[in-house]
């Protein structure tokens, strides 16, 4: 299990990374924490001709607050964000589910977003919170809403030559309440189903991961307690639950109904 040959560039600043990305086009890959890309390279599922290591770009290393949002640049590891659990209540709840201490120590927040695994926790949070992805290419910057960024299983709105510079997550407001839970086969595994909920006043927002190819979002302007079971059953049947090695479509729907209830109760109590 050894990777195919690739060239390697350690970028010291973002412009170097972007010009290399521009020049190499589709055959180049950004290497962040390597916690997903490494396995794909080793199994030769991915065979890029050039890896651009962005982890030495100092300017992308620190979390900051900007205009009521948390800005998390590309080199911030999941562990670094988890250590600042004061920053956002939902992230504090969801991040411990992302892999293990050992993978969070290197895996980045933006890498998880870029990787766009349908079961991953961070894309789910970003979608729930209405976050944005700041994208850069050699010549251009653009910002994409989370809901538009995820295009499919491991597919995003990123185009050749572009990388994620940072993700922006609106800071939690006082009247918002959050909950997160998931079920995987083992601790630290990708979720079979993950659900995150946010309540703000009467408005309830729910995102589901692990079922569709991208995080699924539902919002209810009001939802009476009595209507919750039906609402969750509707949701469960409306998504694209499928069978795989680890779970059945039926089980995924069961989890959407049951975990959905748990997180809704948590944000409503």
């Amino acid at each position: 299990m050894k990777p195919a040959p690739f060239d390697y560039l350690r970028a010291d600043d973002i412009s170097a990374a972007l010009s290399a990305l521009h020049d190499a086009g589709e055959d180049a890959r950004v290497l962040a924490g390597g916690q997903s890309l490494g396995a794909m390279l080793n199994m030769r599922l991915a065979k890029p001709s050039l890896l651009i290591d962005i982890m030495h770009i100092e300017a992308l290393g620190a979390i900051r607050e900007e205009k009521a949002a948390l800005v998390i640049p590309a080199c911030v590891t999941q562990e670094a964000l988890l250590r600042r659990s004061d920053l956002h209540p939902l992230l504090a709840k969801a991040l411990p589910w992302t892999g293990h201490v050992q993978t969070r120590a290197r895996g980045t927040v933006c890498g998880s977003i870029a990787h766009a695994d349908p079961s991953a926790e961070l894309p789910l949070c970003l979608a729930l919170l209405g976050g944005e992805v700041s994208i850069r290419s050699r010549r251009k910057r653009r910002t994409v809403q989370a809901a538009d960024f995820f295009r499919g299983m491991m597919l995003t709105d990123l185009r050749p030559g572009e990388m994620i510079e940072a993700v922006r997550i609106p800071l939690a407001r006082k009247n918002q309440r959050f909950a997160f839970t998931e079920i995987g086969r083992r601790h630290g595994d990708f979720a079979i189903v993950a659900v995150a909920a946010m309540r703000e006043g009467d408005t309830l927002r729910l995102t589901v991961g692990g079922v569709n190819d991208t995080p699924a979002i539902r919002e209810w302007a009001t939802l009476d307690t009595a209507d919750i079971p039906d609402a969750l059953n509707d949701l469960a049947w409306s998504l694209d639950a499928r069978d795989d090695l680890h779970a059945t479509a039926r089980y995924r729907r069961d989890l959407m109904r049951n975990l959905g209830r748990i997180v809704i109760e948590e944000v409503s109590s």
Binding site: M1, A4, E26, M43, R44, L45, G188, D234, W237, D244
Partner: protein, 979 residues
């Protein structure tokens, strides 16, 4: 043979530990290799069943750094097939010859300057396969119309035997009740964390092979190896490294690779090293057999079982590979378990399917057997309205019946099952557990109690395998029996003591136990004794039973050590006696000194006496052999060959285990929480408390994996689905609970130390104990199939699923198992059906609309060959696709049949396309079904669905665009060679 000397060493620290803790272990991949060593990588079959029509290695050979490529032709030319354990025309080779019979079967070996380059070359080997329908299910494999795996055998039945002990028919005729159960036991394996490794050399001058491998025995396999390599045994030197990263039976399965790498070294003219990777290991090393067993019991009104009838279908995979059918016959003497059941009928069928050949796996045969038997005991209780505990107790072999001979011939050496059960219930808090269940149930929780009683055999009789042959075949082949254990002790010229073991330890602390024992016998400090555990068939004393399996160490290997040490001590006593002027019988060995009983002040140092045979042989008492090296062989006389009536004492000692558990199932998630687990062991004399506990805990954790998580899963198309540790979920510290371990001791009268094996029992008892607990919690006797994943349990808890909301479009339920990728869609195209039709038949148009297409040619009318790059996100590969258009109904509908092949795997499928005129053009509708195999199916299961959907969607989107219709594909630019 039990003596007063107590060899227990409760708190001994292991001598093995300091190097392992500091990174100084010596595992196979840590050792230096001979100069000029090359590295091997293996090309493996993407199909479960296919003819190899050609292998083109030309391009691979031209890659700089590549020395040789080995294919089936070389293997056939240079070696002979691996011996098969039954009389059937089955050819087993270490590498596919002409045909592949399981996904992951080796097809070619590349030898190159590094593993990296060797893997590069794998991508350059082109194999053309003709696919054959695979047979995956063992029952289906027996059907008349099932495709046969082996040409010279017209069915997939490798062997069938019927056995009858006592008078089962009469017992069934008389019985008040008959209770039956059918159990399907899946494939799993206690995958060690270290994978296989081999370093092989060939000496053309002596036509001799020298191989280092982390093989674990049994060394009966050495005979299989030398025969396959076509050399006498003395021309195959097989060595093992000092440390091995766990085996659990699995490392026995490295042996075909020993042949393969030995041949590779011969062809390459250089030493060759191969370290298996995890994907290879999960896909193609050995696993437990999967088994379909139907058990029927003749039962009296009080729950007493008078007869058992077993019908077992054992799936050994693609060929019967040595030492199989060990898994089926290892337990042959034990099929009545811990119970006094005098009548027994067995029908055993060995079946071949398109899966990886099976082999030893911790508990081998036991987990399969006890899962059926102990589920049956519970079912008996339920059907008769009895307490499951009473049914177990009523059937246990009485304490005064030992030594007890089972119906099928095992001699249970010792035991007191009643005391063991009573002590477990008392000390394990069974009464409190019953209350706990009541309380939980009163709150509406799903709480259950499970039980299991198990006899754990150890020290296999090398003759049990021949039970698979008929008495006539056995008579012709000559008797096979026994279990020779060997040990050698050396006294060097400084009087220091070394011990050589035949047990090939895999982390069980054999060196510590042996040092302790020898030190006790010779009255010296255990820290001064050195025990060498690496093994060398050219220099060590050994026999076919050598190795690390069937828990033979404590009972057999230690026995041989004890005998050798005692013989040396007796000789040293005679030497010392002359110096001490005392009779040899009165000589005492203590604290590194030797003295006459009652006169410790007049002592000679141990080292002086121990070195005397080197320095002053002339001073030895007359007629006495020197005391320099002592090799002891020990084989228990109890292990006789099968009788003409097929009775077999399949193992030497028989430990007893009684387990009970309290489990709770979470109604919202279907997850099982093990609330309490009590495991009572009677493994005879406990030689090292800490290590016995370690064995029990290890087996318990393995059993948690087998019960709830692990399965070597296959798709119906033969694709292997569990190629990573993400897909084969070995439990972590978060999933494994802490069992309460209890002991009683009834020492074995047949082993030199009174010890019995202990390492495998919980792999036999725990899965079924937990499954019984789950059944109790569910209040249902539904057939439970391992692993008991929440997805399997949830429907058993919740009953019917809530209906989809009224008015919702019915969703097509995907095929169960999730292997077949299906989808459908439609596109509006601004062109007439006729125009669209013509585009579909035109190679140039196809080239521009197939995602990632580099070239298309029409190789025959309506048959196209395309060179495409396909991928999702970062996962990308280049493939050759063949597409045939069938059932053409111009310009209305067509069926597309396609197949893609590439380094990442293969796929095949059909698509049905219909064109209907619509406003301003055509509605193009499609439906597809596809199956994917090879590497990408094993490691990227989750990816496939999305990939298929996207790629196919793109194709039709591009078709629409080409016809001047729909807006350009959003995703197309992320794909393939074109953007």
């Amino acid at each position: 043979m039990l003596d007063a000397c107590d060899h227990r060493s409760e708190d001994t620290l292991r001598v093995e530990d300091p190097p392992l803790l500091t990174g100084a272990g010596a595992f196979i991949d840590d050792l230096g290799t001979p100069p000029g060593t090359l590295h091997a990588a293996i090309l493996r079959a993407p199909h479960a069943h296919a003819l190899i029509e050609g292998i083109d290695v030309g391009e691979a050979l031209t890659l700089p750094g590549v020395s040789a490529v080995l294919t089936g032709d070389d293997v056939r030319r240079l070696s002979r097939p691996l011996m098969v354990g039954v009389k059937a025309p089955i050819e087993a080779w270490p590498l596919a010859v002409g045909k592949v019979r399981y996904a992951g079967e080796p097809v070619a070996v590349v030898v190159a300057e590094s593993r990296y380059v060797a893997e590069d070359a794998l991508d350059l080997i082109h194999v053309s396969y003709r696919r054959l329908p695979p047979v995956m299910d063992p029952e289906r494999a027996l059907a008349d119309d099932a495709p046969a795996l082996h040409e010279r055998l017209d069915s997939n039945l490798a062997s069938e035997r019927h056995f009858r002990y006592g008078d089962p028919e009469a017992a069934f005729a008389r019985a008040a009740h008959e209770v039956a159960i059918t159990v399907r036991y899946p494939r799993n394996a206690v995958t060690p964390i270290e994978t296989y490794g081999v370093v092989a050399q060939y000496d053309p001058h002596e036509d001799a092979y020298d191989v280092l491998a982390n093989f674990q025995g049994p060394f009966s396999i050495h005979a299989v190896l030398s025969r396959a390599l076509d050399v006498p045994g003395n021309r195959l030197r097989l060595r093992t490294p000092p440390d091995s990263g766990g085996s659990f039976g699995i490392k026995q399965g490295v042996f075909p690779y020993i042949v393969l790498m030995a041949l590779a070294a011969r062809v390459a003219g250089a030493p060759v090293k191969w370290i298996e990777d995890r994907l290879e290991h999960l896909t193609a090393s050995v696993s437990a057999t999967n088994r379909v067993a139907t058990l029927r019991a003749a039962v009296e009104a009080d729950g007493r079982v008078t007869a058992l009838d077993l019908d077992q279908i054992e799936d050994v995979g693609a060929c019967l590979r040595a030492p199989e059918p060990a898994t089926l016959y290892r337990m042959h003497g034990n099929y009545t378990g811990a119970y006094a059941i005098p009548n027994l009928a067995i029908r055993n069928r060995l079946v071949m399917t398109n899966k990886t050949p099976t082999g030893l796996n911790r508990g081998f045969g036991g987990p399969q057997m006890y899962f059926a038997l102990e589920r049956l005991m519970r079912r008996i209780a339920l059907e008769l309205g009895l307490d499951p505990l009473d049914v177990i107790r009523r059937n246990l072999i009485p304490a005064d019946a030992f030594p007890y001979t089972t119906a099928s011939g095992a001699q249970y050496d010792s035991g007191d099952y009643q005391t063991a059960v009573a002590t477990a219930l008392e000390d394990g808090g069974y009464a409190a557990l019953l209350e706990r269940r009541e309380a939980a149930r009163a709150e509406g929780r799903l709480y259950g109690i499970g039980l299991a009683a198990v006899v754990e055999p150890s020290v296999s009789n090398m003759g049990y395998l021949s039970t698979a042959l008929t008495p006539e075949e056995r008579a012709k082949a000559g008797p096979k029996n026994g279990a020779q254990a060997a040990a050698t002790i050396d006294l060097d010229p400084t009087g220091a003591v070394s011990v050589q073991l035949d047990s090939v330890p895999q982390g069980q602390g054999h060196r510590t136990v042996a040092a302790r024992l020898v030190a006790d016998i010779l009255g010296i400090d255990p820290n001064t004794v050195r025990v060498i555990a690496e093994f060398d068939t050219a220099k060590d004393a050994w026999s076919i039973a050598a190795g690390n399996y069937s828990s033979r160490f404590a009972a057999a290997s230690v026995g041989a050590v004890k005998i050798a040490a005692e013989r040396l001590r007796d000789r040293l006593a005679r030497i010392a006696a002359t110096q001490l002027n005392a009779p040899a019988e009165a000589v005492v060995f203590e604290d590194g000194r030797i003295f006459a009983e009652g006169n410790p002040d007049n002592a000679v140092p141990f080292a002086r006496v121990a070195s005397a045979s080197h320095w002053a042989p002339g001073t030895l008492p007359d007629g006495m052999a020197e005391a320099i090296r002592e090799t002891a062989f020990w084989t228990p006389p109890e292990l006789a060959a099968p009788t003409p009536e097929d009775g077999i004492n399949s193992s030497l000692c028989h430990a007893f285990i009684f387990d009970f558990c309290g489990i709770e199932i979470d109604r919202t998630t279907g997850q099982v929480h093990v609330d309490r687990y009590v495991t009572m062991h009677d493994c005879g004399r406990v030689l090292h408390a800490g290590m016995v506990e370690g064995q029990i805990r290890g087996a318990y954790a393995n059993a948690i994996g087998a019960t709830f998580y692990e399965e070597y899963a296959y798709g119906d198309d033969g694709a292997f689905l569990a190629g990573t540790f993400a897909d084969y979920p070995v439990p972590t510290a978060m999933e494994v609970s802490d069992p309460l371990i209890l002991h009683i001791e009834t020492p074995s009268p047949v082993t030199p130390t009174g010890a019995k094996g202990v390492g495998e029992g919980n792999c036999m008892s725990t899965p079924v104990c937990l499954a019984n607990g789950v059944a109790d919690a569910l209040g249902s006797e539904a057939d439970l199939v391992l692993p008991l994943s929440p997805a399997r349990l949830m429907p058993l808890i919740g009953g019917e699923e809530p209906q989809p909301p009224a008015g919702a479009a019915p969703r097509p339920e995907p095929a169960s198992g999730g292997r077949t990728l299906t989808g459908s869609g439609s596109a509006q195209v601004a062109a007439s059906p006729q125009d669209v039709w013509e585009m579909l038949l035109d190679p140039q148009t196809l080239k521009s609309i197939i995602p990632g297409c580099h070239a298309v040619e029409e190789v025959a009318p309506h048959i196209f060959r395309a060179d495409v790059t396909l991928g999702v996100g970062p996962v990308k590969g280049r493939y050759i696709a063949r597409v045939a258009l069938r059932d053409l109904d111009p310009p209305n509908s067509v069926l597309l049949e396609g197949e893609v092949n590439g380094a990442l795997g293969t796929g095949g499928g059909t698509g049905h396309v219909t064109l209907t005129p619509a406003e301003g053009g055509t509605t193009l509708a499609y439906r597809y079904e596809a199956e994917v195999g090879g590497k990408v199916a094993s490691v990227g299961g989750r990816l496939l669905d999305g990939a298929a959907k996207i790629v196919i969607g793109q194709f039709f989107e591009a078709l629409g665009r080409q016809a001047g219709g729909a807006k350009p594909g959003l995703l197309a630019r992320l794909f393939g060679g074109r953007s």
